[in-house]
């Protein structure tokens, strides 16, 4: 493995008394593609939300691109600028046009000139195949189109790492592939990606490693071929049976 992008060491996360993440150790190398799966409530979202401090962890350490994630606001801001995130429910800004959604953060957080930010935004909107929607509002787009805008919005910050939290779960079946295609092409470009998803076809195709979580713990991790054909843990086995029988 080359350089380290994310290093999580002995990390624990509590919601009040509830122990949501238990002793997580995870290293993600630059350019690596990780798929996280597991049953509902197992802590997948919580884990990736800890990486950009949408959730605060209580002990252990998280180091992103060499910066320690602690209470120092400038560390948090630095990490957030370098880590993009795509949400299950898109979370586009409804009062801004598609183009404004894409240029807002580069202009404000990266101090990019407007013209340059708009150029970059159009480039990424083309990349996700919807440049013609740039002047529309998010409410005028289909779910699949909105999610592709959300990916373009994240890319406009030129992040080192992209986090995906079930990006296709809220989509109608016929729109899932248009989003997955974009993600596959990002993977091909060498983007460091951490994806929570139940799209096992995607996991097989692009993942370097698959991580299985249950009850706040990392139960098993391995290369997709080993993981799918010869899961070692009973819980993994059971989960895969459920998922693949659908």
């Amino acid at each position: 493995m080359g350089e380290t992008a994310i290093q999580i060491t002995a990390m624990n996360k509590f919601f009040g008394k509830f122990h949501a993440l238990k002793n997580i150790n995870l290293t993600v190398g630059k350019g690596e593609r990780i798929v996280i799966c597991g049953p509902s409530g197992s802590g997948k979202s919580t884990l990736i939300r800890c990486i950009n401090r949408l959730e605060e962890h209580q002990d252990g350490s998280i180091n992103v691109l060499g910066t320690e994630l602690d209470d120092n606001v400038s560390h948090i801001d630095l990490i957030r600028r370098e880590v993009g995130m795509v949400f299950q429910h898109f979370n586009l800004f409804p009062h801004l046009t598609v183009l404004e959604n894409c240029t807002l953060a580069p202009i404000l957080a990266r101090k990019t000139a407007r013209a340059e930010a708009e150029g970059t935004a159009m480039k990424y909107l083309e990349r996700v195949h919807i440049p013609e929607q740039a002047m529309k509002f998010p409410g005028e787009l289909s779910g699949g189109q909105q999610q592709r805008v959300a990916i373009a919005r994240a890319l406009c910050m030129k992040p080192e790492i992209l986090l995906f939290d079930e990006p296709t779960s809220a989509l109608d079946p016929e729109m899932i592939s248009e989003v997955l295609d974009v993600m596959v092409s990002l993977a091909a470009d060498g983007m460091t990606m951490v994806c929570v998803t139940h799209e096992m076809g995607f996991a097989r195709q692009v993942a370097d490693r698959v991580i299985f979580m249950d009850k706040g713990e990392v139960v098993e991790e391995g290369a997709p071929d080993d993981f799918f054909s010869a899961p070692k843990n009973d819980r993994t086995q059971k989960f895969l049976n459920q998922i693949l029988s659908h």
């Binding site: 957030r80 949400f87 409804p94 910050m157």
Partner: protein, 359 residues
């Protein structure tokens, strides 16, 4: 017919209509109602227009003796008192100009092309400076007029505009502080808002005008009119803060999270993502608050200010015109109506405009 029939069942509707129209007694009642309404309107028209006296050539109430219609002559003779209060007679052009300045600035700031913080700020600062110079005088060869002499519609418009202008940013500040992640700040702000809301406006105005002089050191006191404006804007802000907070609360958590994930700072998130959407959500109750506040300006009479309502009372208060109080109140009501109704219609326009692109 069975009890389970739906209300929009066509047969039932038809039956209902048939029943309502076919019975002679119902038709008689309808005719009676329409007839009565027509009669009332006719009598109002007679009183207000046909039999009314419009002007008084000699400036006294003699022309109205023995007439059966409205005596609008009282407005003809006393309109300056109603609009300008006790402002010195020869200087009243200044008061009317000052009032006009504020109204024009208010109208301009309703136009979308002025919706930029620097433009709005420049507009209102220029507006208030012009207002103050015109009203107070003392420079540019204008004789100086003490604020106690300001009055009438000009005073109402001034107190209202200044109150809203200070009140709105205060409301935003209070709403944000009440949502602070620091529990102490959120608690204290909550107590402050609830405290102000629990007091009648009269008490607040009274405190600002009459009690503050005992409490504050003289150099901090300022003129009574400013203390009243501050009291008025605090009262407005306490209510409006809650409107804005409800607008913020209505936003999905994902909005703030997406903004955080993009690396935007607290202020960037607040000014670009949270507040613009919160305003949209809070628009109907906000317009409501603006309308209520306009009417509440009439309470400043309690601490010795002659707003348009009070100077209206003065207009028929002197013996000569005391019979013409209805006419004066109708005139004052009309003034209020023009302002408040325009405000409501503007609110409706804003709602339509801001919905564009949001489905």
């Amino acid at each position: 017919m069975s009890v389970t029939t739906l209300p929009h069942d066509p047969t039932r509707k038809q039956a209902h209509r048939k029943r309502r129209l076919s019975r002679p007694i119902d038709m008689a009642f309808s005719a009676l109602g329409i007839g009565l309404a027509a009669l009332v309107l006719w009598r109002i028209f007679n009183w207000a227009v046909l039999n009314a006296v419009w002007i008084s050539p000699d400036g006294t109430s003699k022309v109205c003796r023995g007439i059966s219609g409205a005596c609008w002559a009282v407005i003809d003779v006393r309109w300056r008192l109603i609009l300008f209060g006790l402002f010195p007679f020869e200087e009243q052009w200044r008061s009317s100009l000052a009032c006009l300045v504020i109204v024009i600035v208010a109208i301009l700031s309703c136009l979308p092309r002025f919706w930029r913080a620097p433009r709005l700020a420049g507009l209102w600062i220029a507006g208030f400076v012009a207002f103050y110079v015109l009203m107070a005088g003392g420079i540019f060869g204008l004789t100086s007029v003490a604020p106690e002499k300001w009055g009438g519609l000009t005073l109402t418009v001034f107190i209202y505009a200044a109150g809203m202008l200070i009140g709105m940013p205060t409301a935003i500040g209070l709403a944000l502080l009440r949502r602070s992640t620091m529990p102490v700040i959120a608690k204290i702000t909550g107590l402050f808002i609830d405290g102000i809301r629990s007091l009648p406006l009269i008490t607040i105005l009274f405190t600002a005008a009459l009690i503050m002089p005992f409490v504050l050191p003289p150099w901090l006191l300022g003129d009574k009119i400013w203390r009243v404006v501050i009291g008025f804007s605090l009262f407005f802000a306490a209510y409006e803060a809650e409107n804005i907070r409800s607008g913020i609360q209505a936003l999905p958590a994902g909005q703030e999270e997406a903004a955080k994930a993009l690396g935007l700072t607290y202020w960037q998130r607040t000014t670009r993502i949270v507040l613009p959407q919160a305003f949209r959500n809070a628009l109907p109750p906000t317009i409501n608050q603006f309308v209520i506040s306009f009417k509440e300006t009439s309470l400043i009479v309690i601490i010795g200010f002659f707003d348009v309502m009070a100077s209206g009372k003065a207009a028929f208060g002197t013996g000569d015109w005391s019979f013409a109080w209805v006419e004066v109140y109708v005139f004052v009501a009309l003034i209020y109506f023009v302002f408040v109704f325009s405000l409501s219609r503007y609110g409706a326009y804003l709602e339509r405009r801001l919905r564009v692109g949001q489905h």
